[in-house]
């Protein structure tokens, strides 16, 4: 067992432990922090796999942007407490059985593809230069389409997050504790 095997093993252990804690922790803030730990370990996996660009993008986009968004919503809605009702025992057993069966099916389906890969010795896999060249030639149209997708998602998020006027009037007539107005 050499050093790289130990490194990959430790990183895999951290990933699985963090993922378990995301699911099992009662407090949502602890879940977010455990998910950030998992994303960091997956970024480390990308470094080990010689995919530097993906590693940095994973850190910036997932651990930086998306997780901050999650934390922000948690704090905004004041959900940082253990407020989840207890589920019946049957539900957890059924969920565990379903997930375990899916695990067995997926491993059985994908496992054989490990023998079928062939190794190319290309020098610059995963570097920014080669990925950028590919992104702006072969994948130019999907790249532009993803820009449009972002625009649509942004407009949708703003529209969904906006209070409509009718609800606003009802709310200010009945309750004033919502904090919708700045003077409160």
């Amino acid at each position: 067992m050499n050093s790289s095997q130990i490194l990959v093993g430790v990183l895999s252990f951290i990933s699985i432990l963090g993922a378990m804690y995301v699911v099992l922790s009662k407090n949502p803030v602890h879940s977010v922090l455990a998910l950030i730990l998992t994303f960091f370990s997956i970024s480390a996996h990308y470094v080990v796999l010689n995919a530097q660009f993906l590693s940095v993008v994973n850190l910036i986009v997932y651990a930086g942007a998306i997780m901050v968004l999650f934390l922000f919503v948690l704090m905004l809605l004041n959900l940082n407490k253990d407020s989840e009702p207890q589920k019946p025992k049957m539900a957890s057993i059924a969920a565990a059985i379903a997930a375990g069966l899916l695990l067995v099916v997926m491993v059985a389906a994908i496992k054989d593809s490990a023998d079928r890969i062939y190794h190319n010795t290309v020098e610059d896999v995963g570097l920014v230069k080669s990925l950028g060249k590919l992104l702006f030639t072969k994948y130019l149209v999907p790249f532009e389409l993803s820009g449009i997708l972002f625009l649509a998602a942004m407009v949708g998020a703003v529209l969904l997050g906006k209070r409509d006027k009718q609800n606003e009037e009802e709310m200010t007539n009945t309750v004033t504790e919502t904090g919708g107005t700045d003077n409160g």
Partner: protein
């Protein structure tokens, strides 16, 4: 290029890791009721797929797989933004993020 990792670590280890992470994410989606934890579990499943894409791409020396990961990240970011906006709207209506309360269409 340091090639030692590809010789000493089998790709099947990454296959197992990705499958386990995906199954944990699915367990969370089935088990938890808090909508924000559900969204986090979906992100976890997307990351498991990303890891498998990156592993195969690196082992085969093919850049296309890593660009696929890039596009999955784009879609995940858009999905998180819209999902959290829906969650905020749901919280405004029901004062809770419990997904078992959202059964209005049951009839």
């Amino acid at each position: 290029m340091d090639n030692s990792i590809f010789n000493s670590v089998e790709i099947s280890q990454y296959i197992y890791l990705s499958c386990v992470l995906f199954a944990i994410g699915l367990f969370g989606v089935l088990y938890r009721r808090n909508a924000i934890v559900l969204l986090m579990c979906i992100e976890l499943m997307l990351n498991a797929v990303n890891l498998l894409f990156a592993a195969f791409s690196s082992y085969m020396g093919d850049n296309n797989g890593q660009l696929f990961v890039f596009f999955i990240m784009v879609v995940a970011a858009a999905e998180a933004a819209v999902g959290l906006a829906i969650l905020v709207m749901m919280y405004r209506n029901t004062r809770s993020t419990d997904v078992s309360l959202m059964d209005n269409l049951k009839g």
